[in-house]
């Protein structure tokens, strides 16, 4: 079987790609997508670790998978609010460029 660290390393790579996406994309919606990547990376490592902890019993192992379920819900709620804000702003601005939101500074 593929060792856990492979999966976790993959998750780390995806996580960082997501993070870099947050830094480089200028459209708010693209940033949301990048954040989703990061969350999914976390989920991947949780699932991988859940398998790893199988030796410690079902309660420990399955809690990793259950946590993924919770995080999924969190992602959904975040998306709802995020898109809500985006839509609200878009109404007045007609742009999703976050660089335009840089009036408050210093």
């Amino acid at each position: 079987m593929v060792p856990t660290e492979y999966y976790v390393a993959l998750s780390a790579i995806i996580f960082v790609i997501g993070a870099v996406g947050v830094l480089t994309r200028r459209s708010a919606i693209m940033i949301f997508l990048s954040v989703e990547l990061m969350l999914n990376a976390a989920n991947l490592s949780l699932v991988a670790y859940a398998r790893q902890w199988a030796a410690a019993g079902a309660e420990v192992a399955l809690s990793g998978q259950a946590a993924v379920f919770i995080i999924l819900a969190i992602a959904a709620a975040e998306v709802a609010v995020g898109l809500g804000i985006l839509v609200a702003i878009f109404r007045y601005r007609s742009s999703t460029d976050v660089d335009a939101l840089s009036q408050v500074r210093l």
């Binding site: 947050v22 830094l23 976050v98 660089d99 840089s102 500074r105 210093l106």
Partner: protein
Amino acid sequence: MSALVSVAALAPFVALLGAVINGAFGRQLKEPLPGIIGSVAVGIGFALSLLAFLALLFSDVTSVSVPLWSYLEAGGLELELGFVIDHLSVLMMLIITGVGLLIHIYSVGYMHGDPGFSRYFMGLNLFVAAMLLLVMGDSFVLIFLGWEGVGVCSYLLIGFWYRERLNADAARKAFIVNRIGDVGFLLAMFLTFKTFGTLDIAAVNEAAGELVFGSAVLGVIGLLYLLAACGKSAQLPLQVWLPDAMAGPTPVSALIHAATMVTAGVYLIARAAPLFAQTPAASEIVAWVGALTAIVAAVSALAQTDIKKVLAYSTVSQLGYMFVAVGVGAYWAGIFHLFTHAFFKALLFLNAGSVIHALGGEQDMNKMGGLGKKMKITGRTSLIATLAIAGVPFLAGFFSKDAILASSLNSELIGSGVGLYLVLLFTAVLTAFYMFRWYYRVFAGAPRLDKKVAAKVHESPTVMTRPLVILAGFSVFAGYLGLPEFAFPNWIAHWLEPALETSVSFRHPSAATEWLLIFVSIAAVALGLGLGYYVYHLKGGALAKRYGSTAPARLARQGLGFDALYRAVFVRPGEGTASGLAVLDKDLVDRGITGSFTTVGLLAQFTGRLQTGFVRSYALLMLAGLVLLVIAVVLFGGLS
């Protein structure tokens, strides 16, 4: 008996009371009243002093301590204020209150009509009080209290006519120069305390006797006290204030700047006699300071044209004699000369005052002359005083001056006193000369007065002349209290013995030598007077005119240029330093410290730039921050 003596402790407080009354209510009182109050206050003081003197004279008690109140019983000082009334201080009290009383009375006439009449008597009374504290104090601190007190009074009275800038300047100068001396006094006290752990004079004197003869620390203490004495007694190098101090009313000059305050330095050294007797080095310096001052001042006196300035320099010169006396260990002789000098110098000043009063304020001797005819009492008493100070035999000054001359040769405290003796002898010639000049230019010869003034010249009122007569009497007879010891009874030396007991011993040359010395000094006086007679009477002042405007004469007139020297060396650089520091303080220190705050502002500008407003740069900072943290963990370790 002690109780009788103790009552004299009230004297300074009575004088103080007079000052307070005059200070608080004087302006509401009609004219002679403040003067009467002042005179009565001093008169009571004199009566008390006399009582104490008599009590001491007719008893075996030599010293009475009068404790007052706790002053500084802290920090290991354990200092109680207290008076000591012994043979020395009671003599000083008599001089202060006696001469003071006469001058108070004289002043009632002299200050007639002055708007500051009551202020004047307040100042005088305050002075008497402070001066009494000075001489009665049983600790250096109390002496210092009086010491500064008389300095303040002197300041007030020199600047009495403060509306003239020169007078105020003179007062300021006196105060500042005195302060320099005061620093010496303070440092002396500090070192005394460090050495002996006490500031009680008796205790210090006793402890000093137990120290090694000639120990360095004693020498330093002595020199510091000398600095103090130089300030107060106008000795080199701090002599410069006294001539200027003549700006004050003339009776003030008589009392403060001739008879009493300026002798405080001599008194101080005499008080600390056992200490000085243990340190020949310091003593010798004291003597030489005195000798040099004596001659420098005498030379300066030669060329003065102001009637009071001559006397001022003469005072400085005579104080020099006293310093020589206390320097060589002849403490009684110093006090003796102080005693006689008080009378004839006060008299001289009062005479000068009488003249100034008569001439409506004129002080220039070039505009006087021949006044002896119109002012008989003033003229005659002046003559007596002049002869007394010149050292004409059988008058007071002769005996006291001679005692000093003799002591300077015979002292075993210092090395050879020949140098001192010669300087003093030469000064005696000069003294006789300039005093003759003074008398002649004022009272004899042809009048050189303005016509308007001449018409008004008159003898002073009785209230002023009576004191003159009394003082003249003392100027004649006071010297008989201290006849040359080798052949005659010397009352004053014995009287002072209990208070001035030291280890200093004197050589006792043969009677013939003593007589020889006496004749030498008589010859010196004669030489001086003769020279004066030659220059001013026979030559009619032509010589004086010829040389009067030469460079040396001008130099002498300016007090040998000490003022200019000090101005160039101390005052100007001092002022420069002061204003330079002020600029430095504002520009450098202030900005230096405040500047560090502005660097904070610059730092802030930098941090402000981090906040770009771009959400993505914020995210980058977060990620970068995390990465740095992770790297730190990887580099520096995980679980320990």
